[in-house]
Symmetry: C2
Subunit: 202 residues, 2 copies
């Protein structure tokens, strides 16, 4: 009887220890909280060259499509490039996207005025920009790096992107976002400036 | 001796239980992870009327200012309104901002082309939009609700906002973002659509 009590007691302690261990483990692998990600997000221009998984790209794209859009129109499309030749073509044709050379992928957020609320180009651009920001944040959240390199509003850059990716003329390539594994050298900036806050009126 | 062993054993179990309890408790109060916030963010149009603390507004504004800006120019300013009369004036003057009536505050993101890279209005708008998206996400992250109501690109709405808040003519009021305590009735939309993803080319 005493032996049975001992065994039950030991098993109870073991279950408790396993539960606690799992809880601690979960805390460590849990994705960082939103405010931490917002503040740790940075423009990553230095990548290891490692490939980016399809799963990671899917996660990032889903985040992009969770952005708000005027009247829910979702006037956007996302071209995702993983092909090395295409990445190099974009790298060679764009002045500030040289980091594509070691990125694992690129996401090109495309604004589509025809689909936007009131067919306004402004909403197509605003909505797509919100998607772009979500993409940058999601990449940061899963330990990848990314950077918004502008295509719009430069005609020559948009032409390069349209030609390389066969994007129609009525679609605006907003940016080219290289995505990859960061070397770690790029750091976030602290842009908090209370002078940019005006209370109650300008 | 046996009694001492018993007491030590019981204390060990107690410590283990307290540790596990604290771990579980911490998991519950920890801010939600970034991807969860991105996907739970929604346009909140139903508020309780409760005030929003200065601390909460500070958190949200800091998040806004953590957004990327072209060449780090930060071409933005943020007008924060908590005064009830001003909120009501904005509410009465704008067609789709009636929820200001029960919001605790409003944040008006202002784009400043004069400060933007190459003084391009496009960058002022893009950068300020990224800030706006961070504001929406940060509000969601701390349990508040918010919604982007457009001022730009409507001249009449921008005029109302400029006049009410004394914003200079060369500054663009991008939006009016009511911020408040959500009733809980507003839910996120699932806008994921794989047809909007184009692999390798359009």
């Amino acid at each position: 009887m005493k032996k049975v009590k001992c065994i039950i007691g030991a098993l109870a302690v073991l279950v408790l220890m396993l539960g606690a261990a799992e809880c601690f483990a979960q805390q460590n692998v849990k994705a960082p909280d939103a405010l931490t990600v917002i503040h740790s997000r940075k423009s990553v221009r230095n990548f290891t060259g490692q490939a980016v998984s399809r799963e990671a790209l899917d996660t990032v794209l889903r985040a992009g499509m969770a952005a708000p859009t005027a009247v829910g129109r979702q006037p956007w499309a996302f071209v995702v490039v993983t092909d090395r030749k295409t990445l190099d073509t974009l790298r060679d044709g764009l002045p500030y996207a040289k980091m594509l050379g070691k990125a694992g992928a690129a996401i090109i957020v495309c604004a589509m005025p025809e689909k936007a609320h009131d067919k306004k180009i402004e909403f197509a651009l605003i909505d797509s920009t919100c998607a772009g920001e979500n993409i940058l944040l999601a990449a940061e959240a899963i330990g990848l790096g990314a950077v918004w390199t502008a295509a719009y509003p430069y005609k020559d850059r948009m032409d390069v992107v349209r030609k390389t990716l066969r994007i129609p003329d009525d679609v605006i390539p907003l940016n080219v976002i290289p995505v990859g594994h960061p070397t770690g050298i790029d750091k976030p900036k602290n842009k908090y400036n209370p002078e940019n806050i005006r209370w109650e009126k300008w």
